[in-house]
Subunit: 219 residues, 2 copies
Amino acid sequence: MPSATVENYLKCILMLSMECDHGEVPMGLIANSLGVTSGTATSMMKSLQKEKWLKYKSRKGVTLTSSGKKLGMRMIRRHRLLETFLVETLGLDWSEIHDEAEVLEHAISEKVLERLDVFLGNPRHDPHGHPIPTKAGIIRKSPQKTLLDCDIGKKMKVVSIFDQSTEFLNFAKKKGLMPGNMIKAISRDNLADTIELQIEKTPKFSLGLTSAEKILVSG
Amino acid sequence: MPSATVENYLKCILMLSMECDHGEVPMGLIANSLGVTSGTATSMMKSLQKEKWLKYKSRKGVTLTSSGKKLGMRMIRRHRLLETFLVETLGLDWSEIHDEAEVLEHAISEKVLERLDVFLGNPRHDPHGHPIPTKAGIIRKSPQKTLLDCDIGKKMKVVSIFDQSTEFLNFAKKKGLMPGNMIKAISRDNLADTIELQIEKTPKFSLGLTSAEKILVSG
DNA sequence: ATCACAACTTTGATTGGTCAAAGTATAGCG
DNA sequence: CGCTATACTTTGACCAATCAAAGTTGTGAT
Ligand SMILES: [Mn+2]
Ligand SMILES: [Mn+2]
Ligand SMILES: [Mn+2]
Ligand SMILES: [Mn+2]
């Protein structure tokens, strides 16, 4: 019933509302992350409000209704289960699956999705380490920090990678920054804005702080 | 690049041109089998001609160009490989896969499709017995007749089922009319318009001629 | 040869999604 | 407190895909 466009908007708004919690999600963020002009976003928000997916406050932003959240969450589940299928079953690389899933998520029925979930053995995380919401729309989020504010000198486990771009994912894989891998922050240099890392017995390397921010770790 | 709508039109036109060979495919058939009004079909044909997918002759019909045929064939391949995946891997019933594939065929990339083909072991036929075109767009069609004009008294193998409707497929399965099964036509009654069949050792049953036409057999 | 009617085309309208450009509100600086 | 820069909204336009209804054509029955 909701179009692919509506599905994309709601998934995007839900993700924005989760990652940077300002009660309302402002127009600018939405337009920006969907790559549309702000006028388009505004007019879309009005029609999404008319269809009861969200509440729109002019010049403030939007908040999802419970059906909006539910649909957004369903889209995240679809996206991440599909990504898992593409890597686990078909053997694609984790750097090429995001865009594929972005399209497939709108084409797969609830029935096929649940079969896929069973076929994959009810995975809890996608290939980038992101939690897969349950059918009921619940995310089991593990405690995590970014490499920016992790403890120096302690062993930690890589939980997930925030950036979905092919280039960054290829880079991360080459460096061994993949979910599950153990890692140690050797030192942080606040003047150079870098953090020095070591993975297992491989050589040390350092990361700028904007890159470090994209790596989530635990423990 | 071509929209899902364009893909549907071209697949449909290719299938019509293959099954009932009148050089040109008339508007009426197209509009009818896509469930749009004839005006819509006419205007769509003009724009498809503009984009070089086909040749349109007013009040005659359309013929696909070679790129039109190629795209149409690619869509048939996608559709049938997806149907095979849905049955073989996810365990759906052959009566529920057509509509799912009708949507997924527009969302799956060439790369994922070829991985799927390998994963499935390069199947030659979909669950309804229809041949899957090769990547190069070639259909290996086995010699076949409908149950309407088969030989009476001879053992034959069911090749494929033409009708994609849930109800007919459920019926066919119940009767044992599935690709690969052996079958014998006991008699034909031209007054009653029926044909009497027997499958292995199960009881005889008869089929009206419109139903018989939907079953393709060989040998 | 005529003509009715089925098959087709044209016309004018609608809907969803989009943009560019012009207009407006407001947070926060001075 | 007033003003400006930034974020947002409005307006008017466009495109793809569709329909309903009115108009046209060509075939085949008489
Ligand atoms: Mn998407
Ligand atoms: Mn992911
Ligand atoms: Mn389709
Ligand atoms: Mn089929």
